[in-house]
Subunit: 228 residues, 2 copies
């Protein structure tokens, strides 16, 4: 009765694709298949089964979307994933660049009891080491609407709130350029033609990064009174 690892991974992938595409869009099968590393036919077959179980709504040739039951399940998988990531960083002393792959396996193996212990031990945190929000045990998530380095005001100090990529390589890049959650940056210039963004970070250092990279760094204006 409990969903297999595979089912959990499908739900998680649909969930994440949905939050990128927006709540009313259907996730195309090709995209889902690519995210999961399977051929499209496999995704079709699996999604039909998920639809049978009432976890997704599937429209042939259109795409797939989670039902509220599926959404809850997916959020709980994500909850486990993100709590584990934070645990691995805070308690086990691992690097935030490395924990994703480990959590990818552990998220299917931990019991609810252990997850709750971890949650408690970490003080019921709201976000994981990448700034991704941790869903509540009830399966609800609140996603703060942040600017990105592509949309935020120029010449204005911003604090990094979230880095939206799981790839070790990108995370290491972000780390090298002081673009980890909590750090302060300021966008100096955007060049649409060159597809680039010039930043001034901690210690007056300057860097120019591509627009694609810039869009993955979510920021918020530094509050007037830092210690309110």
């Amino acid at each position: 009765m409990l969903p297999s690892h595979t089912v959990e991974n499908y739900l998680k992938a649909v969930f994440q694709a949905q939050t990128v595409l927006g709540p009313d869009e259907l996730v195309p099968m090709g995209q889902l298949a690519a995210a999961l590393g399977v051929v499209p036919g496999t995704a079709t077959a699996m999604v039909k089964a998920l639809a049978q179980s009432g976890l997704v709504r599937y429209e042939a040739y259109a795409g797939v979307r989670l039902t509220s039951a599926g959404e809850k399940l997916a959020a709980l998988v994500l909850r486990r994933h993100r709590l584990i990531e934070l645990f691995l960083v805070k308690v086990m002393g691992m690097s935030w660049t490395d924990v994703h792959d480990e959590a990818e396996h552990l998220e299917h193996a931990v019991s609810d009891r252990l997850i709750d212990r971890i949650d408690e031990m970490l003080g019921r945190p709201a976000v994981d080491p990448h700034g991704d929000p941790i869903p509540a045990p009830e399966g609800t998530v609140t996603v703060p609407a942040y600017d990105t380095l592509l949309t935020c005001p120029l010449h204005s100090p911003m604090v990094v709130k979230r880095v939206s990529d799981q790839e070790t390589d990108f995370l290491r890049f972000a780390e090298r350029h002081d673009l980890t959650p909590g750090q302060t940056v300021q966008v100096e210039e955007r060049d649409t033609a060159a597809d680039s963004v010039r930043l001034r970070g901690t210690g007056e250092r300057e860097v120019t990064i591509g627009a694609r990279a810039a869009s993955k760094v979510l920021v918020e204006a530094v509050p007037r009174r830092p210690q309110s």
Copy 2:
């Protein structure tokens, strides 16, 4: 190429049956199947595949035994299992009576890197919360030869070194009667006819337990100078 969860479980089961039966005995298929909760035919099929992979030696109608490659792999699974158990008790504050089932899942999901961190964090321990020895990263195990409450000298203080059962119920029973590793007991009387053993434990409390239970509690004579 890396062994599936199932393969790991089969190797582990053969390993543990082997250490009970003795090094030169073949593990009968029926026993293996029972340990894994599958029907005998399933075990036969799987064992044949393991033999193909060179992890076990299989003799039809006789039984199965690990090759040295299989033994190493099995020991590493056991290493993960036992380090996780100890971690759950020492770091996560779980009860030694509960950690077995959790570890049963996690042992297949943790990476070598994480296991090494855990090992390091725990100070490279030699035994798990039940006193079971933790195999070395090279796959070698040294099993100290202890007496049991069924074989140790009478009227002589003994310290509990190991409790050889994974069942929560039995472990809770042991805990209730102060038969956890580190505690001191003394056998007052054995009654072969009644199949029972009378003990005097911590705080002069007396208990009578069955021979089967007594044989699961491994002990060692209290050394003359406790702090040598």
